[in-house]
């Protein structure tokens, strides 16, 4: 009996993640507009954009290969699986044991690998710019992410996200290394989701865009899938920060329906808070030059490494 319930909760989480991703995107755009004293489009606009794109005709370049057409689905699937594995409103879900934080980082790496290939497929110079810079960011972001995983795993004693969340719930002591890991995670999140200091999500200005450059040749339903995957990635990072550093409100396995509802509400609240803070950061910083970003990501790597070193040196940090 509880197997079906567990599977139902897992299915709920996967559906929830799909549903909330565009909403989160719409909310952040709304808040950004408000901060810039504009009305801005409604928070449901991303849903309409996706539906519009799905119905539009796909225009392919002559030399687009089979990879160009199948790639987007692969990217969407990888990102969706990664997002579904991060605990949102409850920990200890049925399939949470299949992959830990390192595997989730690697899944995002697979998605990025394919995205860079798609950017290069048609052989346009903008695709090249996007792909080469994306991979350069990745060479620093991924080690930083691994270092953050090490720090958190050394504190919590496990790399499973559910175990980490339960540990964070029980032991309430503030640790220096966790602070460093949080700062590093925020920097990596900004870089990975192509937010302001690293890349401007809103613009199509050729020479500055990185993430958008790779999607340049896409149209119609393929573009919709890729946009959806980008939104899912944003949601993944925010729920990751929420799950590790703000674990309150997460329902334990075997709790009643009421606690799951409380978990759901707190999760939506966390998303809103995350979106708001993200917009605050974005409106307060200007975009960096491309070759300032390696130093920016270098800081994240150093913070992560420092956190790990402190954990290695003694238990108390």
């Amino acid at each position: 009996m509880d197997l079906i319930a567990a599977l139902a909760i897992q299915g709920l989480q996967m559906a929830l993640v799909l549903a909330l991703a565009p909403l989160l995107l719409g909310f952040t755009r709304k808040v950004k507009a408000r901060l810039l004293r504009r009305r801005g489009p409604s928070i449901f606009q991303p849903y309409r954009d996706l539906l519009r794109l799905i119905r539009k005709e796909v225009v392919l370049a002559e030399n687009a290969s089979w990879l160009f057409r199948s790639g987007p689905y692969m990217i969407f699937a990888a990102t969706w699986v990664a997002a579904a594995l991060v605990p949102t409103f409850a920990t200890g879900l049925h399939f949470s044991w299949t992959a830990d934080l390192i595997a989730i980082t690697a899944l995002i790496g697979t998605a990025r690998f394919f995205l860079a290939l798609l950017g290069m497929d048609v052989g346009t110079s903008f695709g090249g710019i996007g792909a080469s810079r994306e991979m350069m960011f990745a060479t620093l972001a991924e080690p930083a992410m691994i270092m953050i995983t090490f720090t958190v795993a050394l504190v919590a004693g496990s790399t499973q996200l559910s175990a980490i969340a339960q540990f964070m719930l029980t032991s309430s002591s503030l640790r220096v290394s966790l602070g460093l890991a949080l700062a590093a995670l925020i920097i990596v999140a900004l870089a990975e989701n192509a937010r302001i200091p690293v890349d401007n999500p809103a613009t199509h200005l050729e020479l500055t865009m990185v993430h958008e450059a790779m999607l340049l040749e896409y149209s119609g339903r393929h573009l919709a899938v890729l946009e959806f995957a980008a939104a899912l990635k944003l949601l993944l990072y925010i729920s990751l920060i929420g799950c590790i550093f703000l674990p309150w409100g997460l329902a334990q396995p075997g709790d009643g329906v009421a606690l799951y509802a409380v978990g759901l509400v707190t999760y939506v609240g966390k998303l809103a808070l995350g979106g708001f803070l993200l917009v605050l950061i974005e409106t307060s910083i200007a975009k960096m030059r491309v070759f300032r970003v390696p130093d920016f990501l270098g800081i994240a790597l150093m913070l992560g490494l420092l956190g790990t070193l402190l954990r290695f040196v003694s238990r108390s940090f």
Binding site: A99, M120, D121, S125, M135, L305, T308, F312
Partner: protein, 668 residues
């Protein structure tokens, strides 16, 4: 039984070599040789695998040849069986690939006899039971591969590569010879079984470790001794480079493991410091150099260096844990290292086969002149893409599993007592993560410049798909990569007896978990389930495709590339290998002193603008150039002694006589 099968297969391989030498003129020579090698390797593979699966008790045999008083001893135990499986799987794949690839060989007489001799040499090294047989087969393997590297000897660089290779190989052998001299002692008991038993002082084992690092490290390609590898591996025919990169480096790893873990028993803690430092340095430097290469096979050779660095990282961690008495963690690290070695032999051979396929299709190794090969060669592109995913350690393939196990073993190391190790292991973990990320960037570059975009030369445009044998070989290897990636548990259980024999304790049995997930230390700490991750990705892709195709419009139109309104079909406008590497090169420019010089002509000047990229290979400049300079200088100085007059030669004799008489009169 498996030992006799292995010895008989070596004998068959040597006889094939001899026959090939005689009949290399025959038209069907190459097909028969490769088919025979394929059959022998398969037989050897099956017998070794069966041996490994059930009892794997150590068997030994003695032939009356070799050193007169101890004869030639051969031995097979769990470790040897595992590496026999790795070697024979690699050689079977290479022989299968060569059935198709071999037809295009210009000088079969120079490749066929040495190919099966090379296979025989590698198998013999694994089976060797005493120092003499080990070194004879080790050097015989180097000699055979040197002859293969010299197969296309008309090209000046191949000759230079062959020369540097044979010199590094003999340096390595002499280092190993000194190591065995120390282990065997003045009385000369060269038997492995008697060496393991002998009690030797601590400093002696330390010195032997250094010598083994020089010997086996030079063959594997550890950093200061790696210079020959990117020269020699590409020079050989592709199926041989696959064997050299994928399999011969594993023989070097076997040598290191056999001597350090088996013959020398309990390690000191400071050994792991050296091995970790060299491993980390090798992995990062290897992949950074790979990032700069334009020749596909050189790029793959440098990436071999990176993966060997990762393997030695695992071995270093295992040494550290064993010295600190943490056998569980040591078992984890050792299994991670062995698994990564096995994985690397799979995907590296696959990638070299891909490079070979491109070479036959376009007779071009420089990826700058390729591009758009995915159109004419879709299946090779798919298989090469699989190889790139595996080597970039991305789930659900096998590269990620060994990388993941390595990260788990790094996480278990805070309990290490020594302070220096406490500080070193996190840095090593960071460099490991950095090298994995760089590998992903390097192989995105390699795949996209070679296969995607528009063809940059007529050769790329007129390419054709390779023959069926090559594709089956590549397909088989990709299937293995996927299989190990999805079901790592059974593979780890197969390796358990090896780890048990060498580190004293194996990893907890992975088999009994219902969903085939692997649990390195404990259920609570971490687990990874390759199968479910693959199933989830596969299902969600199908789901997405179904939903999109039900609701979305199906209309599709082909048109010129959008490219922000500047459609320019000329291939020159595409990103090239150097431009793709430019961001990473600039970030890590300090490592290679990479410089870019732009020569922009004044307006109105018709001269084309030039961008020159230059970087320096510090290892070559600081170590190898001075040595060869010193030798030439000494040769020049001493050369004058050839042109003395008779009188001066007599004065030499006279001086020698007088000096000796003085010595005798003073001394006695």
């Amino acid at each position: 039984m498996p030992l006799t099968v292995a010895l008989w297969s070596v004998a068959v391989l040597l006889s094939i070599a001899f026959l090939a030498m005689m009949g290399s003129r025959l038209r069907a020579a190459s097909v028969t040789v490769y088919a025979a090698c394929l059959a022998t390797s398969l037989v050897n593979l099956i017998s070794a695998a069966l041996y490994l699966l059930n009892d794997s008790a150590a068997l030994s045999a003695r032939l009356p040849i070799g050193l007169p008083w101890i004869g030639a001893n051969f031995r097979i135990d769990a470790l040897a069986a595992l590496f026999l499986v790795v070697i024979n799987l690699g050689s079977a794949a290479a022989s299968l690939f060569a059935l198709g690839y071999g037809r295009h060989e210009t000088a079969p007489a120079r490749v066929l006899p040495f190919y099966s001799a090379f296979l025989a040499g590698m198998n013999l090294v694994i089976l060797a039971g005493d120092a003499f047989v080990f070194l004879v087969s080790w050097e015989f393997m180097s000699l055979a591969s040197w002859a293969l590297v010299m197969a296309h000897h008309h090209d000046e660089d191949n000759r230079r590569a062959g020369y540097i290779y044979i010199m590094m190989a003999s340096f390595g052998t002499l280092a190993l010879l000194l190591a065995f001299g120390l282990l065997a002692g003045p009385t000369g008991n060269y038997l492995f079984s008697s060496i393991t038993g002998a009690q030797q002082p601590e400093w002696l084992h330390g010195l032997v470790l250094i010598l083994v690092l020089l010997g086996a490290g030079s063959k594997a390609g550890l950093v200061p001794l790696h210079v020959w590898l990117p020269l020699a591996h590409p020079a050989a025919p592709s199926h041989v480079s696959a064997l050299m990169s994928g399999v011969m480096t594993k023989v070097a790893v076997y040598a290191f493991v056999r001597i350090v873990f088996d013959l020398m028993g309990s390690p000191a803690w400071w050994w792991s410091m050296i091995v970790l430092a060299i491993g980390a340095l090798t992995s990062v430097l290897g992949v950074l150099s790979a990032m700069l290469q334009r020749d596909l096979k050189r790029l793959l050779a440098y990436s071999t260096i990176e993966n060997i660095g990762v393997v030695f990282l695992g071995l270093g961690l295992a040494l550290a844990f064993e010295a600190a008495g943490m056998t569980a963690a040591a078992a984890l690290a050792f299994t991670a290292a062995l698994l990564h070695a096995f994985n690397h032999s799979l995907f590296k051979s696959l990638l070299f086969f891909g490079a070979g396929a491109i070479l036959t299709a376009t007779s071009e190794r420089d990826i700058e002149k390729l591009g758009g090969l995915i159109q004419p060669m879709p299946q090779t592109a798919f298989l090469f893409l699989g190889g790139c995913l595996a080597i970039s350690a991305l789930p659900p393939l096998n590269g990620f599993v060994s990388e993941w196990l390595l990260f788990q073993s790094v996480l278990t190391s805070p309990e290490l007592p020594q302070w220096s190790l406490k500080l070193m292991v996190p840095a090593v973990g960071a460099m490991l993560a950095l090298s994995a990320a760089l590998a992903a960037a390097c192989f995105v570059r390699a795949f996209s410049i070679a296969f995607l975009g528009r063809p940059r030369s007529t050769a790329a445009r007129t390419a054709a798909e390779t023959d069926i044998y090559s594709r089956t070989a590549m397909g088989m290897l990709l299937a293995f990569c996927l299989l190990v990636g999805i079901l790592p548990g059974p593979v780890i259980d197969v390796m358990a007896p090896v780890v048990e024999q060498l580190v004293g304790r194996a990893m907890p049995i992975q088999g009994h978990d219902a969903w085939f997930s692997i649990v390195p230390v404990a259920e609570s700490r971490s687990s990874y389930n390759g199968l479910l991750v693959f199933v989830f990705i596969f299902l969600s892709t199908l789901l997405a495709i179904q939903i999109i195709h039900r609701f979305a419009s199906r209309s599709l139109r082909r048109g010129p590339a959008w490219d922000c309104g500047f459609p320019d079909p000329r291939p020159i406008t595409q990103y090239t290998a150097d431009s793709f590497a430019q961001p990473v090169r600039r970030v890590f420019s300090a490592v290679f002193d990479a410089r870019e010089r732009v020569d922009m002509p004044a307006p109105g000047d018709a001269r084309p603008a030039r961008l020159e990229v230059s970087w320096r290979d510090y290892v070559w400049e600081t170590m190898y150039a001075p040595i060869s300079l010193a030798v030439q200088l000494a040769a020049e100085k001493l050369n004058r002694l050839q042109f003395l007059t008779i009188r001066k030669y007599l004065s030499l004799v006279f001086a020698a006589l007088v000096i000796l008489l003085l010595v005798i009169s003073i001394w006695t």
